[in-house]
Subunit: 125 residues, 2 copies
Amino acid sequence: MNIIISNSSNIPIYEQIKEQIKSKIISNELKAGEMLPSIRSLAKDLRISVITTKNAYEGLEKEGYVETIAAKGTYVANKNVEIIREEQLQKVENLIDTAVSIAKISKISKEEMQSMLDILYGEEK
Amino acid sequence: MNIIISNSSNIPIYEQIKEQIKSKIISNELKAGEMLPSIRSLAKDLRISVITTKNAYEGLEKEGYVETIAAKGTYVANKNVEIIREEQLQKVENLIDTAVSIAKISKISKEEMQSMLDILYGEEK
DNA sequence: ATAACTGTATATACTGTATATACACAAAAA
DNA sequence: TTTTTGTGTATATACAGTATATACAGTTAT
């Protein structure tokens, strides 16, 4: 399981794991019904405690991305694709909104932001 | 001092205060040399502890936005305008970068993001 | 049965955020 | 000059979030 964590980050480890797995589910790299690595194996892999991986999985379950069955494992849930897309759109919009607020205070123009977007997104159509 | 804090936010109170004062300094609503409200009066105003306002001011000092003189007060520092602008540009770029990452995973197009930017920034030139 | 795998629960520790309250210095008022 | 009132500072304390090790309990294949 390709997951990268940073201990020095101010973002908690369980949160880092949660977000990365969420990304894999949304991008369909992890498909519905598929089993996630066990909390133990993932913990060993990342050299952290089982409690931390459990914490991450609990968060995913609370948000409806996975379902866990005691003594069996944790599996990717069937989640409404449209709802996920809406959630992601909302996230992107919030980030841009924050960026715009900062930009306006600092007199950073819309053109400058558009240019950043172009560069960061790439020139793909 | 127009500062709004939310206790229910996951962002610490001292951080909320810090960011809002920083904004006022950057937008020149608070001018170099001007005295900030005392940690006591601000604490009373916001109905929080002096320690929390002190914590906020300490953060601002560490970042070079203010200078504090014991028993006298805390004052807006002279900070290099170009450096501040660079910092803000960096912040905006990081936010857009995060937004782009999420967008790509969720197959949100550049056009959708451009449209968000247009709407959120407004139609001003 | 047993071995090897799942997730769960308990007890513990550390760090960040926040508090009340007592302290020390500066400046203005009496 | 003495007192009062205004600054920021330091100490002791509490609570919540994050993380840990370790013991527990159920499932599956041998």
